[in-house]
């Protein structure tokens, strides 16, 4: 049965792209080493063979340049999927993403649009050090005009990427590099997942753990450990940081009266701050404890494994925090 078919996260991304490229001739891929190499992560392997070098386009190492070309192509009838190999390289393309793509609809009074997807990556623990390990999704989540997607399973990846490609607005789509080999059930059919709809990855009634992207598996692991000491954790994944499904997050926190937000971006001024403050506000009269935040340690990501592993929330650290918050010591 197709329902039970398993794909890796990378295969799910590839399948979404292939299906959308077959469906819509306006969709094309542009970026560094996307064609024969299929990116360093091999996520795109095989696409150039099917779609040719005119639709899977290798560029020079020019992030601002090919991002800008994507914007112009999007404004004139195409549907580019721009590949930014490492999320750290967003730093180079911010003007094109933020001052151009995100604003063109508004600045033109709704006459021009930039329907495009910036696919990029996040996540540490690959021993890639400070310039290849960042999770910078907070930056783009801050910007009106953008939508920001953080899939945490192969299933979500396929459905959300198809939505992103069909959307008439610019979308920044973050893939966790450590998740590419993770397997999960992915239907072969054409399905989409709407933006702004959180997904309860595990139901529970004692504490809410809001987790994004790479942190969803960590939260699920922690939830299992919590189960063993009699704490039922609800793990909820917003899936898109914008639009953000505030209602679902607040609802869950109202039910459990306790909440932790876990995300792999730097903690300060990061995604955990927005989500925690949304919950603290919306569920104020229901909370039995302050909403807690767990992001990456506020340091540039170190290379040494002995240090790098200390910078990211773990099952153990989420478990400890939840236990403390529930008053079990």
């Amino acid at each position: 049965m197709s329902e039970e078919r398993e794909l890796t996260f990378a295969e799910a991304i590839r399948e979404a792209l292939a299906e959308e490229m077959r469906r819509d001739s306006r969709v094309f891929i542009i970026g560094e080493d996307v064609a024969e190499a299929g990116t360093p992560f091999k996520v795109l392997s095989g696409l150039v063979e099917e779609f040719g070098k005119d639709r899977v386009i290798d560029t020079p190492i020019s992030e601002p340049g090919f991002s800008g070309i994507g914007v112009g192509a999007a404004m004139t009838g195409m549907r580019p999927v721009v590949d930014l190999m490492f999320g750290d390289f967003l730093t180079l393309a911010m003007d094109q993403i933020v001052n151009q793509a995100a604003k063109v609809s508004y600045m033109s009074g709704g006459k021009l649009h930039a329907p495009m997807v910036f696919r990029t990556t996040l996540g540490a623990t690959r021993r890639s050090a400070a310039q290849h390990s960042q999770s910078l999704h907070a930056w783009v989540s801050h910007i009106p005009g953008l939508q920001v997607v953080l899939p945490s399973t192969p299933y979500d990846a396929k459905g959300l990427l198809k939505t992103a490609i069909r959307d008439d607005n610019p979308v920044v789509f973050f893939e966790d590099k450590m998740m590419y080999k993770m397997k999960g059930v992915v239907p072969a059919d054409d399905y989409t997942i709407p933006f702004g709809v959180a997904d309860i990855k595990r139901a529970g009634s004692d504490i809410t753990i809001v987790a994004t992207s790479s942190m969803v598996q960590v939260a699920l692991g922690a939830a299992k450990m919590l189960d063993e000491i009699g704490i039922g954790a609800e793990v909820i994944d917003p899936r898109t940081t914008f639009p953000l499904d505030k209602a679902a997050l607040i609802e869950s926190a109202k039910k459990t009266a306790r909440a932790i937000v876990v995300d792999e971006g730097y903690e300060r001024y990061g995604v955990t701050a927005e989500i925690a403050s949304v919950i603290a506000d919306g569920a104020f009269y229901y909370l039995d404890a302050p909403v807690k935040r767990m992001g990456a340690l506020d340091v540039p990501i170190p290379f040494s494994p002995a240090l790098e592993d200390l910078t990211v929330p773990t099952e153990q650290s989420v478990f400890e925090m939840a236990r403390r918050l529930c008053g079990k010591t």
């Binding site: 020079p60 020019s62 800008g68 070309i69 112009g72 004139t76 600045m107 033109s108």
Partner: protein
């Protein structure tokens, strides 16, 4: 129609049309200055007076569905490509009837109907968009060509070199039009530009030409050639037009002596004015006489006066508008 052999000389009708376009831009900008000086226009504006031959010569060589991208000094480009005076003024005054419903203002006028993908307040910022539009034209298999306008100052932005490289590699139908008006804000190009401008394009295998940007017939004829070449699939070109802005960097830049001399200003306005150059030439060639130009001036003045009145009378956008158009 652009692209046919006979256009390679500029006939009288076309010359007069270009004169009219230039006169319209001049009258428009004079009015913008007036609006600013009388505190009727919010914010600032960067006037195009003096540079009219560039926008008009370039756009005359383009079809309506060819694209342009423009700059912070964009009124001339927009008008030359076909925008209407009244809706331009409405935009400058932040009115709902403006091209961007008042949301863009002077630095963001866009008019897809006339192929204008938008002015841009980031210096060099539209080079990516323009190159992407050319990429898209090629992918879609249309014969569209793109003109990317930018100032000498934009040569400081690395983005330009990134996209010129790709335009050359992929033979994209785009003309990079550099308006070298000798200054970026309050600093002269001599202090900011090493080497020759054209060499920077040639280094990427893009043919480059430098011409007198005050001679609209020359700009038009040169552009004709480059556009035809691009339309034939022979790739990008680079056109440096030497020109001059008559006013300050923006309407508020009145005392300019610390960065450029009055003599220099006088030299350009008196001996190299694009309107005068053209009218004097046509009269000298005995193709027409002064009365024709007087009529044109009167026509555009009437158009501009009516346009500004329309804009002054037009309503502001409703408060609800503020949250609209953020997303499609």
């Amino acid at each position: 129609m652009a692209g046919t052999k006979s256009d390679l000389q500029v006939d009288l009708e076309q010359s007069l049309h270009m004169y009219q376009q230039m006169a319209k831009i001049r009258a428009f900008e004079e009015k913008v200055n007036e609006l600013y000086q009388s505190a009727k226009m919010p914010g600032l504006a960067h006037l195009y007076s003096g540079e009219e031959a560039v926008a008009v010569g370039v756009c005359e060589a383009l079809r309506r569905d060819d694209y342009i991208t423009s700059t912070h000094r964009g009124h001339g480009h927009c008008l030359a490509k076909g925008a209407a005076v009244d809706r331009m003024f409405a935009e400058l005054l932040g009115k709902e009837a403006g091209y961007c419903r008042g949301k863009g203002g002077s630095m963001h006028i866009a008019d897809p109907d006339s192929g204008n993908l938008g002015a841009n307040a980031i210096v060099g910022g539209s080079a990516g968009i323009a190159t992407g539009a050319a990429f898209s034209a090629k992918m879609r298999g249309t014969p569209q060509v793109v003109a990317c306008f930018f100032g000498d100052g934009a040569l400081g932005q690395g983005l330009l070199y990134e996209v010129m490289n790709m335009a050359a590699l992929w033979k994209l139908p785009i003309i990079y039009v550099c308006e070298n008006n000798l200054y970026g804000e309050y600093t002269s190009v001599g202090e900011t530009l090493a080497g020759e401008i054209g060499a920077r394009a040639k280094a990427f295998n893009i043919p480059a030409e430098t011409i007198d940007g005050q001679d609209v017939q020359l700009v038009y004829m040169t552009m004709q050639r480059l556009v035809a070449r691009a339309r034939r699939g022979q790739g990008p070109a680079f056109l440096e037009c030497q020109t001059y802005r008559y006013y300050g960097h923006h309407v508020g830049d009145i005392n300019r002596a610390y960065y450029r001399s009055k003599e220099e200003e006088r030299e350009w306005t008196t001996t190299r004015d694009p309107l005068q150059v053209l009218s004097a030439r046509l009269i000298a060639q005995k193709l027409t006489d002064a009365s024709v130009f007087a009529r044109i001036e009167a026509d555009v003045k009437a158009e501009v006066d009516a346009g500004v009145q329309f804009a002054l009378d037009a309503p502001y956008p409703d408060a609800r508008e503020v949250e609209q158009d953020v997303y499609a």
